[in-house]
Symmetry: C2
Subunit: 497 residues, 2 copies
């Protein structure tokens, strides 16, 4: 536990350095920051894979009969983490880390030039490096395929076989829903979203949003911050959780929903079980569960008619001109508009998962050697045409749009869509447990919602693997039904079909 605490503490120190790099650091400091982060990571890696850890774990394993369930979970998580780190050869870890910088550099250039060829060699090498890691991890984890080993890195115990079942239903359901939305007579007026709101006014709106979700950045007892970055993110846990947003004068909802999304991540980290702080069991469960929390707050709460009904008069007080004559129904319709597009990070709630499914299907084929690197752009464009009905004009807005693959993060994307699915399941159960939550929201009450999330998700920390957490919280196995029902209902009201 002492070693585990040291790893957490030094890891969180590195987290502050990352945050500073993105938000405050003078530009010239970048090379020095690289040195600082590498030094810390090397140190953490060494501490992680210290053979003494193996001896300590083995000694505990002999005593396991006397362990309580929390101690057993800690032991399981430490053993898994140790075995996986220690079995990867240092040379492979170093080469991958080195290639990440190179590959990220060539990805940036290729994206700017809209030319996949400039990226293909480095991508091929990255795939090869990750495959080598996946082959080793597969044995340690007992995964059935290399790609399943990669999935497990982000969503423990999740497999392509289970994802296939839910994603194929999700894909078909979403494609049908998009068709309904497209052919509906009623279409939202999107022009209201481009009314100009100066940045300093939007900052006051952000404060309003943070006050609503009780993310405290200003009191004497505050445990959070809000700063500005091009790409919003959240970082930290327990008593030091920091989020960022961006402000576009001609797109005020962008910052509102960025603050809600990152705020959802932040509330999760702040709600982790205090008594397990510094222990493996005291960390967040998985990327997918994390994403379920951000999407819950952003979409299910933030884009609900009830919240918007509550918030609109407040926004109007802050920015009278921008919200003049705008009805709650206008804003709900515009904020939930479905617009199939080519770019994932601009996607709405309905089309988002389709962007993910494209990536998931392609990743699976890559690691099953069913597609070559050269075929990727064509395969990408075909799937965008098939699922989203959009025509990709060049690689920059196609296969090159995301940074993930250049960093070797294969297996990461599914977490985003799993987050949607989980959030729907949580919504269904919460609606049974707290039937008055919607009317409460309209009156400005977020506490009952937060309390449900705290009790059923946040406070569980990493005591369960994600599928188990979902089962304990909702009583159900992974299912898309609640998420699809929720979307159908919301969209049928907005588009009147």
């Amino acid at each position: 536990m002492d070693r585990s605490k040291e790893l957490f503490v030094l890891g969180s120190a590195a987290g502050i350095l990352y945050w500073d790099m993105e938000t405050k650091m003078p530009p010239r400091a970048l090379p020095l920051r690289g040195e600082q982060l590498s030094a810390l990571e090397l140190l953490l890696h060494k501490k992680h894979t210290d053979p003494e850890v193996d001896h300590l774990l083995s000694a505990c394993e002999k005593d396991i009969g006397s362990f309580n369930p929390v101690q057993k979970r800690n032991l399981h998580l430490l053993r898994k983490s140790y075995d996986e780190s220690a079995r990867l050869p240092d040379s492979l870890v170093m080469e991958t880390a080195k290639h990440q910088s190179k590959c990220n550099g060539s990805w940036k250039k290729a994206k700017a030039a809209k030319d996949f060829k400039m990226f293909r060699d480095d991508l091929e090498k990255m795939i090869d490096l990750r495959e080598q890691a996946a082959e080793i991890l597969m044995q340690v984890k007992g995964s059935s395929t290399p790609y399943n080993a990669l999935l497990d890195e982000f969503e423990p115990n999740m497999t392509a076989e289970r994802i296939d079942v839910v994603f194929s239903g999700l894909r078909d359901g979403l494609v049908k829903l998009i068709d309904k939305v497209r052919s509906a007579d009623k279409q939202p007026d999107l022009s209201i979203l481009s009314r100009k709101v100066p940045v300093d006014v939007q900052k006051r709106m952000s404060k309003e949003v943070m006050d609503f979700i009780t993310f405290d950045t200003t009191s004497e007892n505050a445990g959070g911050r809000l700063d500005e970055t091009e790409h919003p993110f959240s970082t930290g846990s327990y008593d030091d959780v920091r989020i960022t947003t961006h402000y576009y004068e001609d797109r005020f909802i962008s910052s509102i929903f960025s603050v809600m999304h990152e705020g959802g991540h932040a509330l999760y980290e702040q709600g982790l079980p205090r008594e397990w702080q510094y222990q493996p069991v005291g960390s967040a469960c998985s990327y997918g569960i994390h994403e379920s929390q951000s999407r819950f707050v952003e979409n299910i709460i933030g884009r609900s008619p009830e919240y918007i009904g509550h918030a609109l008069p407040r926004f109007r007080k802050i920015a009278p001109k921008a919200f003049h004559g705008m009805s709650s129904k206008d804003l709900v319709s515009a904020a939930n508009a479905v617009c199939p597009s080519k770019i994932r990070i601009e996607a709405d709630e309905v089309t988002y998962a389709l962007h993910i499914i494209v990536r998931y299907e392609i990743e699976k084929e890559i690691f099953a050697h069913k597609v070559t690197v050269d075929e990727l752009p064509q395969l990408w464009n075909q799937k965008y045409s098939d699922y989203l009905g959009v025509k990709v004009e060049n690689d920059g807005e196609g296969v090159l749009q995301d940074t993930h693959w250049s960093g070797g993060s294969f297996g990461y994307f599914p977490s985003y869509a799993l987050g949607n699915i989980y959030s729907g399941m949580f919504l269904e159960k919460m609606s049974k447990d707290v039937p008055g939550w919607r009317s409460g929201l309209h009156k400005g009450e977020f506490a009952p919602v937060l309390q449900w999330l705290r009790q059923n998700v946040h406070s569980k920390g990493n005591f369960y693997d994600p599928a188990d957490l979902v089962r304990v919280a909702t009583g159900k196995e992974l299912t898309i039904v609640p998420f699809m029902k929720y979307l159908e209902k919301k969209m049928s009201r907005i588009y009147e079909f």
Copy 2:
């Protein structure tokens, strides 16, 4: 050199965590930050005192014949640092670190209650702990007394015997100068300094000051930042140097000169020799030399009639009301006013060193066992009466005013006054080398001054001990004459004696 670089890199990472703690961190995060800093410091301490370092140094020492002067200096600095760290027992280091927190806590309470008795036991223990360290360091360093060993921690190779010579002359000279100033007919009008300037206006004045000294915080190539804290400080080196200031609406010069003072520290760190980055020889020379750079920029440049003549019209553009009808002579006189006071951090350029001399004389007596802890308040008050002619009313504004002793930093204070003395010597030499610097300043040219400091001080890094650096830069042994001449001349013009 690899190990030296790692120590620098991890130390600078800890520096960012300190900066964040003072400027950005959410209040709740304090205990976690304590854990992060302790973990890093323990790690650094272990790396510092790793016996393998001793073996590496011994191997180098056998090869010293083939070393160039820079390599020899690096070896000397590493050996000194290793021997000193390694010889202090871990138990003493740990106990001192632990007692620092306790002692600092009781100092804060005692200061608030203006009651030395609440601090005396913890202070006595701190003195005892530092004495134990001093006895050991004395042997390693070859110092003649324990107090000389403590002095060497801040000002390498400086001794009480050398300080005695300069401080006694300085004390007598300053006391006489204060008498002249006090009895002068002409006295500055201080009321102009309390004209109200809103904080956002003062921020634009800070930018003006930073632009003048070329401390870049805004360009794409910036290597610095300015933030706000109650007590201004500077931190970092090379490409990431950060300063802070405070803003008082009714005392605008406070932020101007804080920015200049911290800016002086910052320019030094930014001007360290690039080719020696990450090496011991690439760090700053000493606390005293550091202070000479901040005081040079703050007092010799910032409070000069030439700079004020240049800056005033610019300040007036930014804050027309506050500077309305204020002449350059008015502002120069007020900004240089001599007002003997009881509080060191509020002291002017003339009386400042007397505050230091009080502390130095007392510290020397403590470690020579010539004064007991119980006698400290009375001794303090007597010296303030003798040297500054002020009557200390209670311990809060007397012996309890500074935090240094509560942290065990005995031997630190002399650096401040040595900084004054060094800055006078640098001024004298620069005036010979760059005769037109004053008229240049009036035209807004800081570059010739900075170039002289870069060439003669900054670029030398830690190649010399402070007395040697001063000798190389000025051709002279330590002397108060230039500093006293400079003060006499400036004050005789302002006070017309």
